[in-house]
């Protein structure tokens, strides 16, 4: 039941005492996994071949990486297995579909955002202005997110309108 536990946690974020940093990381990891369900990659960025995994790259957020590793184990998104890859500066992001740029690596945002076909997710204020398509926000006890659909579209990825409906803010200006 290890795989289910984080989901349960994610759903119970309303509960007070959301102080613990590892809980926040787990919620963020869960959000990253769930984003996969609302994103639609088009060629050539889409995973090729039957059974090819969706790949999430994580930079500068080891805790999130660890939590995500647990979550994706044995689970499918869009009918595909999910692979988590730890990235560092200078790595080639080829074959990665979603990149989470943690706070500590936020300086490299523009580079990741311009580089390849992966959708960039971050967790710092103004990240959308710097090329990220999705940005996780901390609002009171909740983790919310804001979205820049055009940034995703530039990478050949369409964000589901149902996800846009739940977003805290939808950025329509292009940087």
């Amino acid at each position: 039941m290890r795989a289910v536990a984080p989901i349960l946690l994610a759903s119970s974020l309303l509960a007070p005492g959301f102080a613990r940093a590892d809980l926040e990381n787990e919620v963020k990891a869960a959000y990253l996994f769930r984003f996969l369900s609302y994103l639609e990659w088009s060629e050539p960025a889409a995973p090729s071949g039957e059974g090819a995994p969706l790949v999430i790259g994580v930079i500068g957020a080891d805790d999130v990486y660890d939590a995500l590793k647990d979550i994706v184990q044995g689970r499918l998104a869009q009918g595909r297995p999910v692979e988590v890859r730890r990235l560092k500066d200078g790595d080639d992001a080829k074959g990665v579909h979603l990149i989470f740029v943690g706070k500590s690596a936020a300086g490299g945002l523009p580079k990741w955002a311009s580089g390849n076909g992966a959708v960039v997710v971050s967790e710092v204020d103004g990240a959308l202005k710097r090329g990220a398509a999705i940005n996780l926000l901390r609002k009171a006890d909740h983790v919310r997110f804001e979205v820049a659909p055009l940034a995703a579209e530039r990478k050949g990825v369409r964000i589901s309108s149902r996800m846009l409906a739940i977003a805290a803010h939808v950025e329509t200006d292009t940087p």
């Binding site: 759903s11 119970s12 959000y31 369900s37 499918l76 909740h142 919310r144 149902r162 739940i166």
Partner: protein
């Protein structure tokens, strides 16, 4: 097993009520069955439709709420649930997280029911007027939570609407069925009632002439026909029975009367006989008295013998022992015998009698005694039932193979309703005590029976009481071999020899027939000449001047017709009596021979006796014609 329905008492009396009950009950039964089926189907359908509908709604709402659940946004989920306000049947709706805790809720305005904090699995399903449905919220194959919808079922309202509609339909159908049954009343009940009414009247009034009115061609019509047919049969049979009973009573009464008459008739002669015996025993009686007494006894015994003979005939008729002894008899002789027997009575009563008889030589096949008895009976009756000095006519002829005799008088006559009954046994036209004529009432009945045995009939005609009567006797006489076309022919003949016997010429190409006939005639002393062809016959006729010529019709050289014509054309031979001898005896054959000048027509094979009778009569008539007029006939 008795399958007949037990009708309540008030229905048993009349078919019309039964029909009304039948129509109404069957209508209601049919409606009830269809209503149950309809309601069952509708409820099932309604339930499925409702569940499908709720399921669809849940899917829409669940799918809308999925992202909110995925990214933990209860407010957004509540907005999604609030769209259910468009559906008035949704009481409340709630989204629960994957752990079963309440995430977001919607409740209808005015609803005070609390929303469970956790998914209540036991409360799912249909409970009375509520449908509670749990619907899993999934996203990309992941279970995110549960949507619970609590909806008003609305079944009771639907059911109520149906019941109201069905009640209205039932009411309408009942009215319609009452209309139908009143129509059936006319179409079905009326004919039955009419038949039943006819049957009831027949029983009450014992009137078999009643008939049931037939108004339809269906089974009731057949019933009416059957009843009418039976009534007709019964009526006819009752009438027949009455007639038979009447006939029996009449016969019985006649027998009684007959016995009384018989006693009277048998007793009547006894007084004169006793008186005569007394006269004979008297010492002082002279010879004249004795002779008178003997005559009385003789007459009275004769009368008693006749009565007893009549009785014996009655006995023969009733036991079926009456037999004929047929033979070839000359009609004239039979008639003459009867005329001779009745002559004294006619003379006594001073009647005038005229007689017309066929020419001599005509024979028929009959019992001479019985036939004579019939004629005598009719003549006796005529003499008896005609006032003294009356007129009686007896005419007898044979024509077209039938003998017809008619006895006519101008006596008391017969009432029209007695014409047939007088032929019945023991019948008496006049039953009054004052009647002057007595008899056993056997004569006519016996006569009719005798004519029937001869294959003939006897009938009576009368203009009514006091207007005279006429009795007609008919019988077949196909055996009559000679027919004389004209009675005058006999008187033309004059005897050639001293004995008064006619000279005869036989012309026939059948030598055997000609010679045997000639031999037969010669044996009786006739002078006969035979020729075998027409020309030779003519020559012989011109030379010998025969009185009678028997001429065959089909002959060589000159046929019979031409020979006859030539003989008639020659004054020397024209006076001969010409008789055709032929195998053809039809009416047209006789007409042809008559036309050719023949006096008679003889059909082969001929009866020698009738030829001899004919010749004897001719001779007799010829002799008589020589005697002076007024002399009595022999």
């Amino acid at each position: 097993m008795n399958l007949k329905p037990k009708f309540p008492a008030f229905l048993r009396r009349s078919i019309s009520r039964k029909i009304t009950a039948l129509v109404v009950l069957s209508t209601v039964a049919a409606l009830a069955v269809s209503a149950i089926g309809l309601i069952y189907y509708t409820l099932r359908d309604y339930r499925e439709t409702k569940l499908d509908d709720v399921r669809t709604q849940a899917e829409v709402v669940g799918r809308a709420a999925a992202p909110a659940l995925a990214f933990n946004d209860p407010k957004d989920a509540e907005q999604d649930l609030a769209t259910l306000a468009a559906r008035p049947d949704v009481v409340h709706a709630a989204v629960y997280g994957v752990d079963g805790t309440l995430f977001a809720a919607y409740t209808r305005e005015g609803n005070v029911e609390p929303i469970p904090e956790r998914v209540d699995e036991s409360g799912l399903g249909i409970h009375g007027e509520r449908v509670t449905l749990a619907y899993p919220i999934l996203e990309d194959g992941q279970r995110l939570g549960t949507l619970v919808l609590d909806v008003r079922y609305g079944l009771r309202a639907r059911l109520l609407a149906y019941v109201i509609i069905l009640l209205a339909v039932t009411l309408g159908a009942l009215l319609a069925s009452l209309l139908v049954s009143s129509w059936l009343q006319r179409a079905v009940t009326d004919p039955i009632l009419s038949v039943a009414e006819a049957a009831r009247r027949v029983i009450e009034r014992r009137d078999l002439s009643m008939r049931a009115g037939k108004t339809t061609d269906d089974e009731i019509g057949i019933l009416a026909d059957a009843i009418n047919g039976m009534l007709a049969d019964l009526e006819r049979e009752m009438a027949e029975r009455r007639t038979a009973e009447d006939a029996l009573r009449t016969a019985d009464r006649r027998k009684d009367e007959f016995l009384a008459t018989l006693a009277h008739e048998l007793r009547n002669p006894l007084a004169p006989i006793r008186n005569a015996l007394y006269l004979l025993r008297m010492d002082g009686a002279d010879a004249e008295t004795h002779a008178e007494a003997r005559a009385i006894i003789e007459r009275q015994v004769q009368q008693m013998v006749r009565l007893v003979d009549d009785l014996l005939e009655v006995s023969r008729i009733t036991t079926g022992k009456l037999r004929l002894r047929r033979e070839r008899v000359e009609v004239r002789k039979v008639a003459t015998a009867a005329l001779e027997a009745v002559e004294p009575m006619i003379r006594d009563r001073g009647h005038r009698l005229t007689v017309s008889l066929p020419p001599p030589g005509l024979t028929i096949d009959a019992d001479p005694t019985r036939l004579s008895q019939v004629f005598l009976n009719l003549l006796n009756n005529a003499a008896k039932f005609t006032e003294p000095g009356g007129k009686i006519d007896f005419a007898l002829e044979v024509r077209n193979g039938e003998l017809m005799a008619r006895v006519t008088d101008d006596g008391v006559g017969i009432a029209p309703d007695m014409i047939e009954p007088i032929f019945e046994m023991f019948a008496q036209a006049d039953r009054s005590l004052e009647r002057t004529t007595m008899g056993l009432g056997v004569g006519l009945s016996l006569s009719r029976r005798l004519m029937e045995l001869h294959g003939g009939t006897i009938e009576a005609e009368s203009g009514g009481a006091g207007r005279g009567a006429s009795f007609i006797v008919r019988m077949p006489a196909a055996g009559a071999e000679i027919s004389i076309h004209s009675i005058d022919a006999a008187s033309r003949i004059a005897p050639v020899d001293g004995n008064g016997r006619p000279a005869i010429l036989v012309v026939d190409d059948n030598e055997d027939f000609a010679l045997t006939l000639a031999r037969l005639l010669r044996a009786r002393g006739y002078q006969v000449r035979v020729e075998h062809d027409g020309l030779a016959g003519l020559a012989a006729a011109e030379r010998l001047h025969p009185d009678v010529a028997f001429i065959d019709l089909g002959m060589p050289k000159l046929n019979g017709y031409d020979l006859a014509r030539r003989m008639r054309a020659n004054p020397a031979t024209a006076g001969a009596m010409l008789i055709a001898v032929t195998g053809w005896g039809q009416e047209e054959d006789r007409a042809r021979t008559e036309q050719a000048g023949f006096d008679g027509h003889l059909v082969k094979p001929i009866d020698p006796a009738s030829v001899l009778n004919l010749l004897a009569s001719i001779a007799e008539d010829a002799k008589r014609s020589e005697t002076p007029p007024g002399a009595p006939a022999a």
